[in-house]
């Protein structure tokens, strides 16, 4: 069974640079345990960089990342990999690898050289395939799948890793609308019924508002604002983070903020006639 209290991942005074190009400086962040958090921000604002640092793919120039108070840089790598999983932005599978083989490789941190494959590995892999509706495609080579199917195969791999904390970098890119909703619903299931902590990068602000408990807005490697979507998402914030004029209304389905960009060729109609109030 999973522990009652979900582990907490926390960045303290984090600074990250590629070579001598500093991307993130002095960033403090707590990944809310047991919640879904979504990072939003323009391209190149450092979202992936932050996610990769949280999973120890990058070592910080200053500061540290802690898991339950213990620096992740001092932890054994496999132990960390059993607690924190990361699906990078655009992973590539080797030619000829089947879906089930790919998903099985997510079990690596739970295996050792002499114990390669166990019953629980098998169960977890099957379950991951089931959750992502990939059972029927299990024997197909990954490189022969559509972009969306491929994405689901990778998500299944991340699920097979069976970690308390799951970091997903743009899990809905390449997916059609139905599969985007399916993946996000899946993330929500994992969170609500299994208590997984999820932090993911999304580009769709409306989906972010709908699925996130906590939104982190980034700009130029800094966190501009964070909090629950209903309090956080305002036209001013969107303008600041994305440099886009917009209206924010209430999503008729979920009651969360709904961001409607304006652009240069349109002007908002008479907003009074609009059935939903503007924030």
């Amino acid at each position: 069974m999973r522990p009652e209290i979900a582990p907490t991942l926390r960045a303290e005074g984090l600074a990250v640079s590629y070579g001598d190009r500093s991307i993130i400086t002095d960033l403090d962040l707590v990944v809310p345990p047991g919640k879904i958090s979504v990072i939003v921000g323009a391209n190149a604002s450092g979202k992936s960089t932050l996610l990769r640092s949280l999973a120890r793919l990058l070592s910080p120039a200053a500061g540290q990342v802690c898991l339950d108070g213990e620096s992740i840089h001092a932890m054994p790598t496999r132990e960390l990999a059993r607690m924190v999983g990361l699906l990078p932005q655009s992973p590539v599978a080797p030619e000829g690898m089947t879906v089930i083989d790919l998903v099985g490789r997510g079990r690596a941190p739970h295996q050792s050289w002499w114990r390669q494959w166990s019953h629980s590995d098998e169960e977890t892999v099957r379950h991951a395939l089931e959750l992502t509706s990939m059972l029927d495609l299990a024997e197909r080579p990954v490189d022969e799948l559509s972009g969306g199917q491929r994405q689901r195969a990778w998500i299944a791999m991340a699920l097979a890793q069976d970690t308390d904390i799951l970091l997903l970098d743009e899990p809905t890119t390449f997916l059609d609308m139905a599969h985007q909703i399916e993946v996000l619903d899946l993330v929500m299931d994992l969170n609500r019924t299994r208590g997984r902590t999820v932090m993911m990068v999304l580009h769709d602000l409306n989906q972010a508002c709908r699925y996130a408990d906590h939104i982190v807005a980034m700009k130029s490697g800094r966190i501009v604002a964070q909090g629950p979507p209903a309090d956080l998402l305002t036209a001013e914030l969107v303008d600041e983070v994305f440099d886009v004029r917009c209206c924010v209304v209430t999503d008729p389905v979920s009651g969360t903020p709904l961001v409607i960009p304006i652009g240069r060729h349109h002007e908002p109609r008479n907003v009074a006639r609009h059935p939903f109030p503007i924030h």
Partner: protein, 343 residues
Amino acid sequence: MDQTVRSATTGIRPATRPLVLLLATFLLAGLCVASLAIGSKTIPFGEVFSVLIDPRGGETEAIVRGLRLPRTLLGLFAGVALGLSGALIQGVTRNPLADPGILGVSAGAGFAVSLAVLAFGLSSFYSYVWFAFAGAAIASVVVYALGGFGRGGATPVKLALAGVAMLALLTSLTSGVLLLDPNALYVYRSWAVGSLTGQDTAIVAQMVPFLLTGTALALSVAPALNSLALGDDVASALGRRIGLIRLGGVVAVTLLAGTVSAVVGPIVFIGLVIPHVARAITGPDYRWILPYTMVLAPCLVLAADILGRVVARPGEIGVGVITAFLGAPFFIALIRRRRLAEL
């Protein structure tokens, strides 16, 4: 739906992998026996066995134990080492066109041989074999260090580029030395034909500790190579220590290919081609690719060596020549059939 969810891959059905490996092992055993029996004087199998089990002197024993046994063992070892190091270097650099030579091992060994003759006048095999091994080791350390320099450590592309640069440098330096000293050219040539002949059991026995260490190291990184195949980011997220895996792989390649290059000279194509044959049979799982290359590569080496003895009777053609001759068409077919861009 099939009930077993155990990783199925392209290639043969997973359940048949052990069986096919066993068959290949029988084939290898058969080739070992054939290699003891076939030659300028063909000896019946029965006699080969009786001489091996019960040494009683005579011409037959001299041929089998004195000449063909070390030669067969050398072919076996060379095959295992070259095959394994080829699969390893392809996995570590994620480059399907990589071959152990990319680390500069054989070029390093060759340069050391020519230098040993030029500088010290060494010409006996026993004296220059250690130079050759040192040359192989130094070359691969330099390639790894150059490839690991700068941001991101030893990435596949940087390793490959460093390897190509090193190869070019060593090859031209070697030609320089050989032009200076005709004696060096003579010794170098006898090393460079890639032949299994002329070694005695003592030399072959000296190779064993290096090859055992290299093989153990190779097999120990196999599961990690499976993670590495998914890319550096995914592999680290799965808890693998990328730098350590690459280093382990490179050390294993140096031990395996370096030892073989020093003793046998450069044998091309085995390390490049056999891992692809293994991959076509097993699919992309290194826990199977490595054992398959360990069996299939010596099959090819021994078959090429036996072929070299019979096609040009009473003379012989070096095994390096035959493998290149067989390997080249195969390699072209491979490139035409498959997309090799990603691994």
